[in-house]
């Protein structure tokens, strides 16, 4: 697949460590976008801050690189202001579930038609290796010197608990399957969440490429992603991590409910004030 329409127009100094899983994610995302025939001008990639959050700088498209933890909030607004755009959030596990936890919850509940790709390396990469919400129990870091004692955050179970529209997990150690699921997520109408297991070769010496190959398996062909309780059960399984699409629950999106698009499909930037209507409103206040 020729993904060159998504290539940067000039040499770019990619700030990731050699061997990092982010490179593969970048590659797969470019491929998914190309295969889905989404034009760079019609896409907005939103991110927060972290190593994963640098991704939008490395492919040629519209970029909203905002604050740590806040990408989902900004992205849902971008989509609401212009539903013609494809909007993808790409950010790390710390950004998505730590600092950004409240936006994750509440925008699942809103169900905007955006895709959220969480690069889940189970560690804070950019700030040099502290535990993230998804770090495993006992994970030792310079701050968690005795190992993590928190229950690890389970983004899939949480998303299912909130009746999210699309919930999936992939491991970037398997690019082919990841590509397939990411394409599904982008095409899906509604908030589509993909937890992407990604090795951080610099700071996570436990959950390595090897670990992510050995400690996962794929949901069987017969698995029915419409069953919420089953999805929850699989998402909370102990032992090897299942991969694939856990839950699908298509329903009206945030934008579908917006009265502003009921009769007029124009994105907001094309619109003008209705001054005669305002004059009417003013006049109504004379009585």
């Amino acid at each position: 697949m020729d993904t060159s329409i998504y290539d940067m127009p000039h040499e770019t100094d990619v700030a990731w460590c050699p061997g990092c899983g982010n490179f593969s994610i970048l590659k797969i995302v470019k491929q998914a976008l190309t295969e889905l025939d989404i034009k760079p001008e019609e896409l907005v990639m939103a991110s927060g801050i972290g190593q994963a959050a640098k991704t939008p700088h490395y492919l040629k498209t519209n970029v909203f690189n905002g604050l740590h933890g806040r990408a989902v909030a900004a992205a849902m607004a971008v989509k609401a202001a212009n539903p013609e755009l494809t909007v993808i959030v790409e950010s790390g596990d710390g950004c998505s579930f730590g600092e950004g936890g409240n936006h994750f919850i509440h925008n699942i509940l809103r169900n905007p038609n955006i895709t959220h790709l969480a690069h889940d390396n189970m560690v804070y990469g950019l700030t040099k290796g502290q535990a993230s919400p998804t770090s495993q129990f006992g994970f030792i870091t310079p701050v968690q010197v005795q190992g993590v004692t928190n229950e690890p955050f389970n983004p899939l179970a949480l998303a299912i608990a909130l009746d999210a529209a699309f919930v999936a997990r992939v491991s970037i150690a398997n690019q082919e399957k990841s590509l397939e699921v990411i394409k599904q997520a982008i095409s899906f109408k509604g908030y589509s969440f993909v937890d992407i297991l990604q090795p951080c070769v610099s700071f996570n010496k436990i959950n390595t490429w090897k670990w992510f190959r050995e400690n996962v398996y794929y949901l069987e062909e017969s698995y029915d992603p419409k069953n919420r309780t089953e999805a929850f059960k699989r998402a909370t399984e102990k032992g090897k991590l299942p991969l694939g699409v856990f839950y699908k629950n298509e329903k009206p999106t945030f934008e579908d409910y917006l009265p502003v698009y009921k009769t007029n499909k124009d994105p907001l930037y094309k619109r003008e004030v209705n001054l005669p209507q305002l004059q009417k409103l003013i006049d109504s206040m004379r009585h």
Partner: protein, 567 residues
Amino acid sequence: MKEVSIVLCGEAGQGIATVEQLVTGMLKLSGYHVYSTSEFMSRIRGGTNSTLIRISDEKSRSAFIDRIDILFPLSSKALKHLEHRISPETIIIGEEGNIAEEYCPNKANIIKVDFTKIANEIGGKIYTNIVSVGIFLALFGVEGNISKAYLTKKFSPKGDTILQNNIKACHRGIEIGNQMLEDGKLKIDLQKDDSVKNYLTLNGSQAIAMGSIAAGLNFISSYPMSPSTGVLIFLSQKAEDFGIIIDQAEDEIAAVNKGIGAWYAGARAMITTSGGGFALMTEGLSLSGILETPMVFHIAQRPGPGTGLPTRTGQEDLQFVLNGGHGEFARAIFAPGNAEEAFFLTQHAFNLADKYQVPVFILSDQFLVDSHYSLPDLDLTNIKNTKYIEKTDENYKRYLLTENGISPRGIPGYGSGLVNVDSDEHDEEGHITEDVHDLRPKMVDKRLYKKLKLLKEDFVKPELIGPADYSILLIGWGSTYSAVKEALELSNRKDVAFLHFKQVYPLSEDTIDYLKKAKKVVVVENNATAQFGKVITLEFNIKPDQFLKYNGMPFSVEEVKEFIEKI
């Protein structure tokens, strides 16, 4: 009497707001200038709240005054609550149980009316308030057709029985009021003015909301917080008519990031909040600074710190708004003095934010947003909105370095270019840079010095009130406008003028001319640290005297007048 001051005082949930609305509506339609403002507790029921209604035959009596000409106590605690404002001249109209005589300095001015009994005769306690309304109508000679039409419009949706009972109760009130006049217990002779009938009545929240509509607002994300929520509610009510996306955010952090995302994608967005909510937005504010994405903030101030006094007024957040957010970047702050200014400044704020790609603030307060002003018109003929956005081509660079510092703003999906915004220090294309020697200083110059210069050029001048040859200059900003203005008019000082700032930051250099003419400059502020005084000092190296109030209440005309006279 050029002006009458009437106060209703009772518990939350007793329907004072309904009386206020009916009375001010009908009096205006009869040709009176009306203004009303409330002070209330942070609770839904009970407690003790009061509403001041000023009725005059002149304009601009839209300030808080201590004086009460007529007082309607609606609960047993009302008189104690207003103890310090009741004078021997105050006429107190109420029922036995609500008149604690120890707070009535002049027993002759007590008029007992058995509201509850009358209401019960008609159909129940809920008609009590309408009896008071009737008294107002009688005292001010409101014509029967006006009141009938008004009550019908208001109550017919609730069914005929309720409508008829209300009309009955109102009539009983009118009879009682007429009797008072006949008995010579009180006498009001204000001129009616036909032109008033066509006036608008609106509160500060509505003015701000409508100003934003006039500017083309089409996206608002906010989290409820007193006293700022009125703007969100008004816009929600009108959302369908004006094509506005309403999003009740999960928290204030989300609200500001959504607002910025929306502007990025081509919307005109605003948030509305109060100081505590703004505290959660300062990171977002800084984001708008570095992204160079326009953003409009409405901050309705209330006294802090912390939760403070949620339903009271203050001007304690100017320095916070001015210095909020990490790092250095330009911003502009407007502080409307009344509903009219609120409307036009808000409309202006959006265009200024868009023009210079900076965050712009409307800094109001509880007193402004909850006061009901009446004004001749909001003239839309000169309303002009410019969308400072550009169709992009393939070579588009979001942060192109230009002479004046402004890079043409593209919108994703509009044109063939790509729009990259970045919260890291960035190059012209919007990609992360670590170039501290060349790009970083250029980007700081752009975001800070160049934009500040442009903002000063567009400065909205202050309004000077009083003699041109003053030697003492009072300086105010925001909602203190009406009280200081009225106090100055009432005082006999010919050497004192009042300079009311609508734009409080940045100030244009020539503002110094006003200050240089004065021997003494005094800032009048609703805070304890003279926050605008600091802006003045930093800009002009002048340390003004201070007249400050920080108990959560607005300035009264009387206290400002007393200050002026002793100055």
